[in-house]
Amino acid sequence: MIEGASWRRWVFFYVPLTAFIVGLLFPFYWMVITTVRPDNELYRPWNAPNYAPFWTTHPTLEHIKDLLTETLFTTWLLNTMIIALSATIISLFCGLLAGYALSRLKFPLAGALGTGIFITYLVPQTLLFIPLADIIRNFRLGDSPWALILTYPTFLIPFCTWLMMGYFKSIPKELEECARIDGATRWKAMLFIIFPIAVPGILSAGIFAFTLSWNEFIYALVFLSSPDEKTVPVGVTSELIRGDVFYWGELMAGALLGSIPVAFVYSFFVEHYVASVTGSVKG
């Protein structure tokens, strides 16, 4: 704690911390308040005398109703859910096996493969999306969820592998050796002794992978074109803005409802998520 007089505590601790919290959370408050604000209040210029931006006296669910009935929002929600879950499962599967191999087994090229996966971990999506779009077209995967289910693992697997490698290294080797002495095969020792212990690590990697897939934008923007195939981020930005007209009520309702699944998952696994964030930067 900050030592000294109480004014010091206020100046050096409470005031800055409150400022951070307000600054970081205000946009979400703004999302909520815009969603429930009726249109005639929404489009009142900022310097109008009766402009009261921080609350509304006539809350309405009109925007949410419009969003759910007049647009394809529920379809996008379902698409995103399917894609994010499938990509997460594929990445967890690959990352778990690869992480085990790279941290536990001795084989030629182990070092090179580890470095290779670390490098792909650092490759941003924006570097490859143009040739990848061409490849997706050639594979006839364009405009289908498979385009994303198969490409999202490219940025999720390196992360999952990295996280699982760190986790496996913390499990003592003796456990496996005991199982092997008792007659278990290498395969069974891995499957029934090591993987169950690694469940917290798997959960962390899974949560992080899920939020990353939900967040992904550029691949979804480039690979999908029909309105009913889109994911939430792409659908909200491309279909709810018609020409130059922004329907802010619906847009914010879309942003809010599109964030809820991620926030929901996150709220249950905060500790795992924090572990994965800090684990992702551990060398």
């Binding site: 970081l24 690959c94 087994l105 084989f107 924006t126 395969w187 930005t237 942003a255 964030v277 060398g283």
Partner: protein, 313 residues
């Protein structure tokens, strides 16, 4: 020796029957191949192959639906002489540098604040990560609405506080647009820095601080000479990730300004998108992405060098 006689007979464990596959998997090398196969196939197909394909595209004049011919390094020459590309690279560097400095400074400050014990700490930490986990595009839309030229709540606040007397056109003014975009990037990135650095801070033993305090070091001196050097390795790794992500940022600018006004916020990624996908000039677009690759590579190598150096100290 007497105790050799009490050694357990080996017959208690019936050797299980093992098929040829199981026996093969007992060999570490074969097991490694099987375990790594799915990863190598997926990464090879959708990372290594696109990378090679990108290089092949960049030396032809391929357009969407039109197979290209070999043109050598013509695309790179074009890009080099392209004024917008130069602006985009310059903007990308400025955007990355300024945003990273602010994210580091604010993130470190927040981490130090959170490292105190106070009521509701876990709760605060969970809420503070929200900007990082909520899909960027969706939270950026909220910012776009907050920056709206006519209905901006930020303008309202500043006007009420008496700081401004006319509206500020956050995203429409070429001088301000890049700053506005940087603000949103910093807002989104601070939680990641704060949480990672907080984890680093928690590994520093409080005894070191106490020892320094007994020796008469003031709070700032303790931070400068105890905390900072111990935190440096984590800081450098966090910065490495942040710099790469910021350098390659796309969604934020795409939603807020689309690269405008007059290319004031054009980044290399948004420009590559405009050329490669917007106008269908695949080769030109791939060249733009590839041309920035060396810049990114140099930045990463320099950072890895410093990380290595900090870790050996």
């Amino acid at each position: 020796m007497t105790f050799t006689t009490v050694a357990a007979p080996r017959s208690y464990a019936r050797t299980p029957r093992r098929g040829p596959v199981t026996r093969l998997l007992e060999d570490e090398r074969w097991l490694a191949i099987v375990l790594l196969l799915p990863t190598v196939v997926l990464l090879g197909l959708f990372i290594a192959y696109p990378f090679i394909k990108g290089i092949m595209l960049s030396v032809t004049d391929t357009k969407v639906g039109v197979p290209g011919h070999f043109v050598g390094l013509q695309n790179f020459v074009n890009v080099w002489h392209d004024g917008i590309f130069r602006v985009a690279v310059w903007n990308t560097c400025i955007y990355t540098a300024i945003a990273t400095i602010f994210k580091l400074a604010l993130g470190l400050w927040l981490a130090v604040l959170l490292n105190n014990n106070f009521k509701g700490k876990a709760f605060t930490r969970a809420f503070i990560l929200l900007p990082f986990i909520i899909p960027t595009v969706l939270s950026t839309l909220a910012w776009k609405w907050m920056f709206d030229p006519t209905f901006s709540v930020i303008n309202w606040g500043l006007y009420r506080l008496g700081i401004i007397d006319h509206r500020i056109n956050w995203l429409g003014d070429p001088d301000l647009a890049l700053i506005s975009v940087i603000i949103v990037n910093v807002w989104r990135g601070v939680p990641f820095f704060a949480i990672s650095l907080l984890a680093g801070l928690q590994t520093i033993s409080p005894e070191l601080h106490e020892a320094a305090a007994i020796d008469g070091a003031r709070a700032w001196q303790r931070f400068r000479h105890v905390t900072w050097p111990l935190l440096l390795p984590v800081t450098l790794v966090v910065m490495l990730f942040s710099v790469i992500q910021t350098f390659a940022d796309f969604q934020l600018v795409y939603v807020l300004t689309g690269g405008g006004p007059a290319n004031a916020t054009q980044l290399f990624s948004t420009y590559a998108y405009q050329i490669g996908i917007g106008t269908g000039l695949l080769s030109q677009g791939a060249t733009i992405s590839l041309a920035v690759f060396p810049v990114l590579l140099v930045v990463v190598i320099v950072q890895l060098f410093y990380i290595r150096k900090a870790e050996t100290h």
